[in-house]
Symmetry: C2
Subunit: 169 residues, 2 copies
DNA sequence: CAGAAATGCTTTTCAATTCAACTATTGTCA
DNA sequence: TGACAATAGTTGAATTGAAAAGCATTTCTG
């Protein structure tokens, strides 16, 4: 029995009253919608990229993020935060893109701890090819049933929620 | 060089014109907000569950989904679709919950291909203990800056987007 | 200016997920 | 009926991602 299973079993023993399923809350519904929508759109993007024989979505997000940054490069830590992945995961992701010739690892002169992921011309070119595919899928997902104004409002609402979620632990 | 890297390299060679970073679209912004918000809320929920020494979020979602279903059981395929994971992944996830005594695998008399994941009393009890933790976190994330009406509207908008995304391939 | 703490990134280890191939059962149609 | 296709689920290999430990560099402090 795993450690977790033991914990679960021990916990279950201490509970003596069975409680029926609670009624779904409005927030629970919103959370469910957020999860399912995110999954559905992600799935759609991944399928579209795969069908066009393009690299997977995380590669696109990496390239797009770097392309928008001032000198087409970012510190590893900042990049990890922007992509919402761990630093360890980012190191390996960057390794893969470097191996494909899309990125370069450069270093800081004034602080030799920091390293940058730097966009290479091949990366910019690939991004330019991938972008129409992604944009087209997002059009289908978002603008089919949403006006530009509604899309902006959705963005704003989501950012508010994100702000609340990032607050206290 | 990996197969993918070769494809990337071959593709890059055929592109002769470097294209600058495109301006962010409204849909791109909405997609980014959706991704970041989902990640932030997920992170918050996982942290809260881990701190209370509860099983991870997928376990909660599984238990909650089964608890809401008619006879506290679901076909594997339907459950995979509801949780937005692959069927193969679901098989192993269910195996783990069964090993913890939370679920049971039952079978269909009329169609011996189908099997059900069935909620056990211990699973219902654990769910009852976990739910307050999850609900509390969702309260912080959603109701802090959103009225109930706004939450409902958010849900509705997201479901529309999901509908569009699930449409054609 | 040492020594300790903090920072930035990498490496290692391990659990979880996906993908493709496989088995078993049911449905279809010549 | 009998073969073939379709469906439901599981299994095994490979990939991905996260957590924690580790290393190098910088900053703080007495």
């Amino acid at each position: 029995m795993t450690e977790q299973a033991e914990a679960v079993a021990a916990r279950a023993e201490t509970t003596t009253v069975a409680i029926g399923p609670a009624a779904p809350t409005p927030h629970g519904e919103a959370w469910g919608a957020l999860t399912r929508t995110h999954a559905a759109v992600t799935q759609r993007l991944q399928d579209a990229l795969a069908q066009a024989e393009f690299p997977p979505l995380p590669w696109y997000e990496m390239l797009a993020t770097l392309a928008e940054s001032p000198e087409q490069r970012m510190r590893m830590g900042d990049l990890a935060e922007a992509l919402v992945i761990t630093r360890g995961g980012l190191t390996k992701l960057v390794d893969r893109l470097i191996k494909a010739g899309l990125l370069e690892r450069t270093f800081c002169e004034t602080d030799r701890r920091v390293s940058y992921a730097t966009l290479m011309p091949a990366g910019a070119e690939l991004l330019a090819e991938m972008r129409p595919v992604v944009v087209a899928e997002l059009q289908v997902a978002f603008s089919a049933n949403l006006t530009a104004r509604q899309a902006d409002e959705l963005t704003h609402t989501l950012e508010r929620v994100r702000g609340s979620a990032c607050g206290a632990a």
